[in-house]
């Protein structure tokens, strides 16, 4: 068999188109944005290239850091919820009988055929005071009171649950939008998982729950990690959901950046904000690798 290391020329020719693609459509825009981040905004909103750090100084102002901090928190909560709901869903699909599997998977993928904005708007119809959710709650409320013997007149007034236009709504919307990105990779690893590991765990006396936590989850870790990363990154950058479902103070860093490239027409500042997030991500990854290296060292000593 040939080794690609020995065939450097053929290999590099083969690699040329993808490399070109990557450079053109991934690296290049990133470089452009990076260059912008050192420019400044002209009086008419035009971008003047140059070298100034004012955009970064501004990005590190307390307001923006506070928004970033809040965004990270929301993102963590959303990722955790996506996992909490997505993992059992992936499990349900994975354990469903053959023909149901495909149908359930379709249900997970189906929302992608509809525009994100429309799907998010649909949540308004569900969550608003006279919406579907509160309609259902009101029905339960009324039915309950009439069941326990209240007359129609005496039933206490139903107070709608205020769950739209606040951070709760934003979290619900973000979880809804991103949960497929959690379910699909987990489902993929589960499908590959040898089911006899689970049977062995049960056979050794473990309950279903213990099997899920001690065997299923660790063995699906690659799927969980990639799902969590996808959800985290996508949520961090999302601005549509906070726009549509958020309250007066539900601003996320994505909205902030989107506004700079839109209405504020301050591309250099928007670019700097995006890069602050990128730098932060790199630093986190770097710290993580240091931590991993330490662990390895410790293991090696043992």
């Amino acid at each position: 068999m040939q080794n690609w290391r020995d065939e450097k020329n053929e290999f590099s020719i083969l690699m040329l188109p993808p490399a070109f693609w990557l450079v053109t459509f991934f690296t290049l825009p990133l470089v452009v944005v990076w260059v912008y981040s050192f420019g400044n905004r002209g009086p008419l909103g035009e971008t003047n290239l140059g070298f100034t750090l004012v955009n970064y100084v501004r990005a590190f102002e307390l307001v923006h850091m506070a928004i970033l901090w809040k965004t990270v928190w929301i993102t963590i909560i959303v990722t955790a919820l996506c996992f909490a709901f997505g993992f059992p869903m992936a499990m349900a699909i994975s354990f469903a009988p053959g023909k149901w599997k495909l149908r359930l998977l379709m249900l997970v993928i189906l929302p992608f055929w509809t525009n994100l904005l429309i799907r998010t708007y649909a949540w308004i119809a569900i969550l608003r005071p006279r919406g579907i959710l509160n309609g259902g709650l009101k029905w339960i409320h009324d039915t309950w009171y009439s069941l326990i013997g209240y007359g129609v007149e005496e039933i206490p007034k139903f107070v709608p649950w205020e769950i739209l236009y606040n951070d709760k709504a934003v979290v619900i919307g973000l979880v809804y939008v991103h949960i497929p990105f959690m379910i699909l990779p987990i489902y993929a690893t589960m499908e590959k998982l040898d089911k006899s590991f689970l049977e062995a765990s049960l056979d050794l006396g473990s309950s279903q729950m213990r099997t899920i936590f001690r065997v299923m989850m660790p063995l699906c870790m690659t799927g969980i990690v990639s799902g969590a990363m996808l959800v985290f990154v996508l949520t961090l950058g999302n601005f549509i959901v906070a726009d549509v479902l958020g309250g007066t103070n539900s601003l996320m860093i994505g909205n902030q950046i989107a506004r700079q490239f839109g209405a504020a027409r301050d591309w250099p500042f928007g670019a700097a904000l995006s890069f602050v997030i990128l730098y932060a991500t790199f630093i986190l990854l770097w710290l993580r690798s240091i931590y991993a290296a330490r662990l390895e060292q410790r293991d090696a000593k043992r």
Binding site: E199, L202, D203, L204, G205, S206, R210, R214
Partner: protein
């Protein structure tokens, strides 16, 4: 000796969908302390039967009792049996010791008790020095031992093993067979082993159940199974057998009279059957071959050597008798007891009357 019953399988059937009948009215007992083997070709329902015992499949019909207790509705984690999986299913994210401890932690044992049992378990399968290794750092045989120890230290009433040797190479397989039997003697636990390897079944088991197409064909000790198979299927599946169609020509005081068309009639020493059509068979190592016509009370047939296969310890000689093929295994020794043959030689094949096995069909 009166042994109590470990597993009672009573009229058990398993249907998948409408068409697949994986197990068909199985009914037999497995005794306590027995090394019991389920043997059959691929797809005959061995695994299905075993998984029903372990509780991973529901029964379509019938009941399974373990130690006198009906297992209906009892989940796998509540059954007094443990299983060693075909793939071993040693948890890759745990060390060997953690794998062993996993099942014990459920039993609310003290920490030191768990440690002790894990240590003993590892010693039992001679894996002590590997306790901190991960499964991906172990060989197949080592992994199998981990799986074995993990199941055994739960001290189950019955240990189920699904094709425990199938992933091992021939040499290791033989070693492990010996080890497994020794271990079973040491711990005294009932072993139920699934295999499709008849050699393995014969060498390890106290009793073997031969299964074909979901139906249990015969349950017997290895020697009985080999010497007195009840059907052509069992005879063929366990070892090799030359068979002839036979006709039942009535019974005398001495026993049944049986005719092998074109080859003559012979008298059995007992009454073997009452059906008119039957099959007679003879094991290849019971057949002798020589050039001279044999004398005495034997069944003999004249033919031509068609083929000779050298197989190390013995030669397999194929003799053509009027279009009928007879296989004989002749010891390969140097003392010259056997004649040397060549293809095309005219020979007599013959065997003792006693060695003929009469099969139902």
């Amino acid at each position: 000796m009166t042994q109590s019953i470990a597993i009672k399988i009573d009229g058990v059937s398993k249907r998948y969908g409408r068409n697949v009948l994986a197990v068909d009215h199985a009914k037999f007992d497995i005794k306590e302390g027995e090394f019991f083997t389920l043997l059959g070709p691929s797809g005959c329902g061995k695994t299905t039967l075993m998984r029903m015992i372990a509780g991973f499949e529901t029964l379509t019909e019938g009941t399974i009792e373990i130690c006198g207790q009906d297992m209906h509705g009892v989940p796998p984690n509540k059954r007094p049996v443990n299983m060693v999986f075909q793939s071993y299913a040693v948890f890759p994210h745990m060390t060997v010791a953690e794998n062993l401890a996993y099942g014990l932690q459920i039993d609310k044992l003290g920490k030191s008790e768990i440690e002790k049992r894990v240590k003993d378990g590892l010693e039992m399968v001679r894996m002590s020095q590997f306790s901190d290794r991960r499964p991906n750092q172990l060989s197949g045989g080592q992994r199998q031992r981990v799986a074995l120890a993990r199941a055994l230290i739960k001290r189950p009433k019955v240990l189920l093993l699904d094709e425990p040797m199938s992933a091992l190479d021939a040499k290791l397989r033989e070693e492990m067979q010996v080890e497994l039997v020794t271990l079973q003697h040491e711990v005294g636990i009932t072993f139920v082993v699934v295999t499709h390897d008849q050699q393995e079944a014969l060498s390890m088991s106290d009793r073997v159940a031969v299964i074909e197409g979901g139906v249990v064909r015969q349950i017997a000790t290895p020697s009985e199974l080999y010497e007195h198979p009840k059907s052509k299927f069992v005879a063929d599946f366990i070892g090799k057998m030359t068979t002839f169609p036979g006709k039942h020509r009535g019974d005398t005081n001495a026993g049944s009279k049986i005719e092998i068309p074109h080859f003559g009639e012979f008298q059995c020493r007992e009454i073997v059957t009452d059906s008119p059509d039957l099959v007679v068979g003879i094991r290849p190592e019971k057949i002798e071959v020589r050039r001279r016509e044999p004398e005495g009370d034997v069944i003999k047939m004249r033919g031509k050597v068609k083929n000779i296969m050298y197989c190390g310890g013995e030669n397999h000689v194929y003799v053509d008798v009027d279009g009928h093929e007879i296989v004989a295994y002749l010891q390969n020794e140097t003392r010259g007891f056997h004649e040397k043959f060549q293809v095309g030689d005219d020979v007599w094949s013959y065997w003792e009357l006693n060695d003929v096995v009469v099969l139902d069909h």
